[in-house]
Symmetry: none
Subunit: 190 residues, 4 copies
């Protein structure tokens, strides 16, 4: 028996991400996804229970991937502020390189498919971010303030920059990376 083809799942994922970027999550229909992935629509149902399942799996996959990419590259031995700068650069780089994926994540979160269950399964990211900030607090580098506020600020800022970038209104370069980090750091530094 041939095993389920891992490559096919990736083609489905890629097709979905691309399509959502082009036409939004509502326009990403099964026939279109299948066509873009180069297979019959029925085949999708071999790999996923239904559309909801496909989107959920993709969401969780991307979410975990992004967390590991950004936090994974962190040099934990470096000074905190440097680590933070590193993290910020990673985030911004991701917003540029992987913005189709970001778009998908954003769209999914506000779609009818996103439910409590998925939300709970995806808090790993928040946890990592909060742990990281905790370390900053311990070193008296970060304000003693509720973590969720700091997190909201970082995440919202990042997200908006990604949106602006997608619209061609935000051009990334070293200077602007530095400036944006300046804003961020001044906000949270103790």
């Amino acid at each position: 028996m041939r095993t389920k083809d891992e490559g096919k799942i990736n083609r489905i994922y890629q097709a979905t991400v691309d399509l959502v970027m082009q036409v939004g999550i509502a326009g990403a229909t099964i026939p279109k996804i299948a066509k873009k992935a180069g297979m019959a629509s029925g085949t999708l149902y071999i790999y996923f229970e239904n559309k909801e399942d496909l989107l959920r799996q993709l969401y969780l996959h991307l979410k975990s991937e992004m967390v590991s990419v950004t936090f994974g590259a962190l040099d934990k031995s470096a000074p905190f502020k440097l680590q933070m700068f590193q993290l910020w650069k990673e985030f911004l780089a991701m917003a540029v390189e992987k913005y189709p994926e970001r778009i998908f994540l954003e769209q999914y979160k506000i779609s009818p498919f996103y439910d409590e269950q998925v939300m709970e399964a995806s808090i790993g990211w928040v946890k990592q971010a909060e742990d990281f900030l905790e370390e900053g607090k311990n070193q008296l580098l970060v304000k003693d303030i509720q973590k969720d506020l700091v997190y909201s600020m970082m995440y919202g800022f990042l997200n908006e920059l990604a949106v602006q970038h997608r619209r061609g209104l935000f051009h990334l370069n070293d200077h602007r990376i530095g400036d944006s980090f300046g804003l961020l750091w001044d906000a949270i530094k103790a």
Copy 2:
């Protein structure tokens, strides 16, 4: 002849906003909107050309309403930082009281319905915000930094707080309003 009822437009708007919050913009179908608004689906087409038109009108309506509510309450004779605090409170209050409307605005912006034309018609808000920040710069209170970065930070932060609030993860009180403004002010102050 029954006269065209202005109140009906508001019922349609309200129904749309509520529905988008519940099921997303993709799930807000014409039949559902009509039912929620208590009228036949055909009636919608007396007031709006089609679904796209309805969403666009609603978007522009809410956008302008929000701009005028927030900036309108501003006491222009007050010191800059105080004005800013006032603005931030207004924004947060709006995010709490009108979060269904905010959700609609966010969803619409990333939907296939949002196009260049609408974007251009809605830059009033950005203009107002940038003008306000310019004043801060002139008084040497705000960093001399690209305005769009500051704007992105404010808007993104605000947006994320609204999202958190919707999920019941963010509880607004004077203390937290003060803390969040603290983050914001430290970020941008000169």
Copy 3:
């Protein structure tokens, strides 16, 4: 009490005829007819029971008008062949000048609105044509052949010329009027 406005009926008739020519009988909707006639759609229902009634009345109106126009102009004292030529010219002229009306008649006849009842009410034309041909037979100028065949030939020929004319494939001039009559006369002459 104002009496029903005869002029309005004519505006409705004219609008319907024009519209049917432009978009076919299926595309001639009540809202469009009303708009073209310069009145509200509800007004149509003051003058006609419903759409079916409007079309039937218009059909009967045009049919009788055409019969009286063509046969009415006939000089009954002239020699038969001359009368026939006259008639043919009248028919062709009508096909050119009133082709929107012809189109309506043709479309109506094959629409779901055309029923037995209307058919029977509109045989006046056939009767007149057959009476006329009878006279030709009596003068031994027309073949002694079933009248319906002759009628079918004349009517069908005429109709097809009208269709060709509408498509710009048939250009009417004295020469071609003469030629077509030549065909017709040779067909039926004794």
Copy 4:
């Protein structure tokens, strides 16, 4: 996978033709066609792009079928007048046996669906008829007259006979076939 069933196309064609005869082209809706053809309405869209496409394909199909049936049976070695009689008989037979199809063709031609493109794709018939008449002219058997007039006469006559037949007003038998051909031949003979 279920293979695309060619027979299904024929069932769709047949259902459409029957329905158009019963309720006109405006009354032949997709749901009704599908029901008559014994399938779900969505299935139609596997075989045809949309309603317009279905009608166009059917038109071209019937047109070419009719041309090949009538002209195909022609014995080109026979004398011209005999060939012509043969042709006329074929036409009339077709008008009787396939009058639902004829109705469809006529209705389609005056519907909004009929456009330049379809017209050009269907001139094969006219060409064949004109070529045939040309041969008659060359043999000095047919009047030297514009071909389109002769064509219009034949086609219009035939068409009207078909209409009469549909209404039960025209009964086909050898005698009447002969008489009608007599009219036709006398009209065009040199």
